[in-house]
Assembly symmetry: C2
Homo-oligomer: 155 residues x 2
């Protein structure tokens, strides 16, 4: 029956919503721990951005607005925070006088590497029993979910 398929779909969506709700609350703690491991004064929200800058090379702040889908103002503040801590460097974009390019500083890279090493050593505490393939599949699903969320609400 169509209704059954629809029903289970609906249930899956509801379950998904609940799990996401739990996630966004629990993850705060984990990110908090990890950010403190990188730098005592590093705020959780800034850690995620630092991590992204580290992965995706020099980029401008506005690029992160798109990725994280948050306000320019919020990005600006987090970036300032990261600069204050000496974790990233800001340099003018040679191709556009308005823009600035962000790079993780040497200290920032060292700190991130150290934390990554710690995490690798213990195969990440809590997820140790997840096979790499499942982790990848999970990350891929998350990405797809995020992409779906990225579609403008006014379709």
């Amino acid at each position: 029956m169509t209704t059954e398929v629809v029903a289970s779909r609906s249930e899956a969506l509801t379950a998904l919503e609940t799990e996401v709700g739990v996630l966004i609350r629990r993850i705060r703690r984990v990110i908090g721990e990890r950010s403190r491991a990188v730098h005592e004064e590093l705020l959780p929200a800034s850690y995620l951005m630092l991590s992204y800058v580290n992965e995706s090379g020099p980029l401008r702040a506005s690029a992160m607005c798109a990725v994280f889908d948050i306000d320019k103002g919020a990005i600006s503040r987090q970036v300032q925070h990261l600069i204050d801590l000496g974790l990233i460097d800001r340099a003018p974009d040679p191709e556009d006088g308005r823009a600035t390019l962000l790079t993780v500083s040497a200290d920032g890279v060292a700190r991130l590497d150290r934390v990554a090493a710690e995490r690798r050593e213990q195969l990440d505490d809590r997820l140790a029993d997840w096979p790499a393939e499942e982790l990848q599949a999970f990350a891929a699903s998350l990405r797809r979910y995020n992409d779906a969320l990225g579609i403008p609400a006014d379709r």
Copy 2:
């Protein structure tokens, strides 16, 4: 080589972290839209709790502290908000004079049902191309992930 396995595992973990970071930012908007659909003044955080009370029958506030892993105080405020809006009812627990049991009010149920129906009708806007099985698998992964996060940090 072990190192390669470890490396890809580490990469998967980093990717996972980034995706989760994006998720927790984007999801805010979606939850925000949905909560407003239920009630104009319903705050996003309260919507998730309302939804949980609706699924998991009469329960006490402290039960949600465990589920969502947040402070008693935060729960108390959200619950008060939900009561102010007339979306849930609070009744003393007959088995424990300290506790109160929360139930979604008739109005609350009606509003949730209406929103659920809307969501079902359009097979949830953005996730329409996800088969139910994948959605379920995704939700299951999320649950497992959440469970892993739930393990106390001090192992």
